[in-house]
Symmetry: none
Subunit: 588 residues, 2 copies
């Protein structure tokens, strides 16, 4: 029986303790009683059950066992009762009589004796009392004779077994460091260690706008449910139950080793979503752990920890607009190749750069990586087009149907965004209904090749003219192309920016159908700031201060453009439209 072992052990330890105890008794009996008295007075309710003065000695053989547990960190109830009764600072160090805060190493003791014991109890040096031994130890004299002080520490029951070993200590420190890293955004290389938490809070976020919970829940939206129960939407919106469950399970188990995106990846590996061709190439790519968990020393992690040059990307972001900065190599640029391997979005910083470039926090870096992966998984994987457009001038209906591909991708992407799936479902649907055109347009921007005036899709180039020819909406088409061109100019080939804009658009609170607006808006805030930080980290603060407003402005334009497109979509003939599109268009 396990129990027996344990019990045996404990009793052994008790004996051990007893031995120490009795030995001590012999040695310091007179003082002892004093302490016992004090002890009794102040804590009798607390501790009496273990160390009654009189009995301690005589009955030591059976009493001691209880004593250790006596001091075990106290039950709240008893304590509170006690403190009420006898005041508060009734704890007195058994060693020196100083005020004690609680138990340390299994004996009520003060801070100094605690530290003293930790520092000295494990030393095997043979210390000697410089006097005759048995020095009296009190708050004033405790410093005089370490030997006797240590002796008394043992006497009153401090146990050196409770001092953590080097191994545990190391482990502990590592954890601490890790956690601190998590909180402590990049920032200063010279890790201030300890006590930057408060500094931070006070510095920048003390009274920061805590996103308030807001918003009424809006109407119960009975009709909306239809979207859910319809066959296609159903299969879409809840197609992968394992996605959230299994992924989460995995995620939980592996704690924070692999990233969310990776977890999802593996969870999805055997479960092609919908008609998606399995895309083995992408998914079979070895999942590279993002964070190096074993960051033993904090030294020099600041600049080299998680950042390395992107593997195969080397195109330089529009040099014309950049301040000269050798490090500004684009990471995820343009190449619509899947890039499953994880890379840091933070170019490695030299001291010089750090003056101009933000250092992304680990969290931010991870978020960006995850986003990019999610995007790759959703928008890079080839979807079998539901309808092949062969002719050069498809009808509007056909175009609409064609865009269902992107809608499916959008849904896939959304379902992979944790911020999205945790929203109430009615809210999810509202969001999708509201943003899909925006996404379509945004997507077209990222595919746009201004030199040839075509959209470069996985299935070949599409001349932009096709829209004009097909629909006859000349103005609309021109606006669209102009938008592509102008936004592309700002974004360059930085796909990461596109993805961020995409997410920001998704979490637009102003959509007509959105229900939990405040919730959505708060999420959007997060990504807005992430975008800002990303820009600052990649293009310098100065450039970011230009780009961010430009991008914001473009988002506004996007809304207008999408609005225009939306108007025309009301003209489609419902009978020729894919069900999924009908649903997202709110048509019947």
């Amino acid at each position: 029986m396990p129990h027996s072992a344990c019990n045996y052990f404990s009793s052994a330890s008790v004996m051990d303790f007893y031995d120490m105890f009795s030995a001590n008794m012999e040695e310091g009996n007179n003082r002892q009683s004093d302490y016992n008295l004090l002890f009794l007075q102040s804590q009798n309710m607390d501790l009496a059950d273990s160390t009654t003065p009189g009995s301690v000695k005589s009955d030591a053989d059976d009493a001691p066992p209880l004593s250790p547990s006596v001091q075990m960190n106290g039950g709240g109830k008893i304590r509170s009762r006690l403190s009420k009764v006898s005041g508060d600072a009734n704890k007195i160090c058994l060693v020196c009589g100083d005020k004690a805060l609680g138990c340390n190493f299994d004996a009520v003791s003060c801070e100094s004796c605690k530290a003293f014991f930790r520092r000295n109890a494990l030393k095997d040096k043979k210390t000697k009392c410089l006097f005759e031994g048995g020095c009296k130890i009190d708050i004033n004299t405790r410093r005089f004779c370490p030997h006797c002080r240590l002796e008394k520490c043992f006497t009153v029951g401090m146990k050196k077994e409770l001092i953590l070993g080097d191994t545990d200590k190391k482990k502990r420190m590592q954890k601490v460091i890790l956690n601190r890293e998590k909180r402590t955004v990049p920032a200063s290389p010279a890790a201030p260690v300890y006590k930057d938490k408060r500094a931070q809070e006070e510095a920048a976020s003390s009274s920061s706008p805590t996103p308030s919970d807001g918003e009424g829940a809006g109407p119960g939206g009975g009709g909306i449910e239809a979207l859910l129960s319809s066959p296609i939407a159903q299969s879409l919106l809840s197609s992968n139950p394992i996605l959230s469950d299994a992924a989460n399970a995995l995620l939980r188990q592996v704690s924070d080793a692999p990233s969310l995106a990776q977890t999802i990846t593996s969870a999805l590996a055997g479960q092609p979503l919908l008609q998606i061709s399995a895309a083995g190439g992408l998914l079979s790519a070895p999942p590279t752990p993002i964070t190096t968990t074993s960051t033993t020393s904090v030294e020099e992690t600041s600049s080299s920890s998680s950042s390395f040059a992107a593997p195969s990307c080397s195109s330089v972001v529009e040099g014309t607009n950049l301040l000269t900065n050798a490090k500004m190599v684009a990471c995820h640029d343009g190449t619509s190749e899947p890039m499953p391997s994880v890379s840091s979005f933070q170019p490695s910083l030299t001291q010089m750069d750090s003056f101009l470039l933000r250092k992304l926090s680990e969290d931010e870096d991870r978020m960006l990586n995850d986003l990019m992966q999610v995007y790759d998984l959703s928008f890079t994987v080839d979807l079998e087009p539901l309808i092949h457009i062969k002719q050069l001038d498809p009808s509007l209906n056909q175009l609409v149907n064609q865009s269902s591909i992107t809608v499916l991708r959008l849904i896939k992407l959304s379902k992979r965004l944790e911020d999205f799936v945790t929203l109430p479902q009615e809210c999810q649907i509202g969001i999708l209904k509201g943003c899909w055109i925006h996404i379509l347009l945004l997507r077209s921007v990222s595919l746009y090749d201004s030199t040839r005036d075509v959209w470069v899709t996985p299935r070949g180039d599409i001349p932009t003219e096709i829209l004009k020819n097909a629909t006859g909406f000349v103005q609309l088409h021109d606006d669209h192309v102009n938008y592509c061109s102008s936004l592309k100019e700002v974004i360059g080939e930085d796909l990461m920016v596109v993805v961020l804009l995409l997410v920001i658009v998704i979490f637009s609170p102003e959509g007509q159908h959105v229900v939990a607006r405040q919730l959505v808006s708060n999420i959007q805030d997060k990504y807005l700031i992430l975008l800002k930080h990303y820009l600052e980290s990649k293009y310098t603060y100065s450039k970011a201060a230009e780009m961010f407003p430009q991008l914001m402005s473009k988002m506004k334009e996007l809304k207008e453009l999408a609005g225009e497109h939306g108007k025309h979509l009301l003209d489609v003939n419902p009978r020729e439209i894919e069900p999924i599109m009908l649903e997202i268009l709110d048509l019947k």
Copy 2:
């Protein structure tokens, strides 16, 4: 399933108890009575710890098993209070024997074991028993060996699958938030409820940019110090030590009872800043507490608590651009009258509105109020102009000197911003050097009257032409006026927006002289989001989605415009320039 198990269990628990008992009998003869002790002995313990030491002893002889205590940290007092053996629900924690309330994770367990299991079951860490494994777990020893405790948790049937995953957790929280809002907004907000501090953070900013204490201290900036030690700047920058110290102290002490602005107000009351005419009117205004700290009953606070119509302001914000909303009364609009009385920036929300309008959090409301007060105190109070401009075509130098008024105001304002004063001083100076032109321009926008093409200052109107005539920089002037006009169009008369932009500009990380860029940027983030939220709360989400980008865009223009102005300022004749301006211009 769980239920059946549970139900079964409660009856089974008795069996279990017997089993343990018998097992103990076999194994431990004397020691074994542990459970017995636990259950039956409670009275003993109770008596013991309060009164008779003797009883302790007598019972103690079998107690030893209770204390494997030795190394387990913690330890608690022996839990004397026993779940009434017969009286209380006969539910007993299968893990530790403590009183159980019901099933947790599919096994009858106590609160502590429930929490313990939730916290530890999902960790994949390989824990080790510090003993030989199979420690006995009871109410007293449960703390000692987490490993065996967890093991026992699983043994008695707790299932880690029942622990909600991160996603579910989030979902749950969001639902909670939504539901709370549902109640809070329309009807009576049932007592405050839950604190969603973390929930909020996680919902919208969890892994988001945690503001860091970023950036090393930077260069010692010897020359810059001059600004501080110079007579004027000195008196300016550190004129009111009590402002930062006393105010902050107060602020900390009173927590969040009075607002920062108020604290400052009172702190300043007896300390007229500089040559400022005491401005008794403003300062003597009764400081109305902003937040009603003693919100004992939250009933109906939602719509009436901190929000009431602004006393004397009634101008409606440009109705043309607004969605129809009867509530949208501007609070701090235009009238450059000081408005010390506190008002909420949140128009009272009806159920309908809450669908379109954000509900500002208390914090946000307070921040806005504080900002506005700070602005009023700094920019509304009349400063004695250092130089009176009488003539209609002042020289450039005179204009520069004239702008020292605004610079002084800027400095006053900055010193009242907690986010500012907590920055390193060199950083403060760098910021001021970098943004003062922006502020000047921004200020001019808020004073601009497009109908008459003049700036309305406390000292009378100034035709915009004056600049053109004086300097001859026609292009610059036109740009300036155009900027005023166009930005004004967006802002309308909403002074709050101006103030927010002002603060956002102040905390621009890209300024040439700024040192702690990351820190500053993080602060800017806060105000950016605050601006967004303010817009959402006052102009609907939809309108905010337009305005925010527009304002961002204007900020970019502002930078360019300021840059142009800056160029020309290099031409001034240093000998005719005020010292303060020389310093801020970095001239000698």
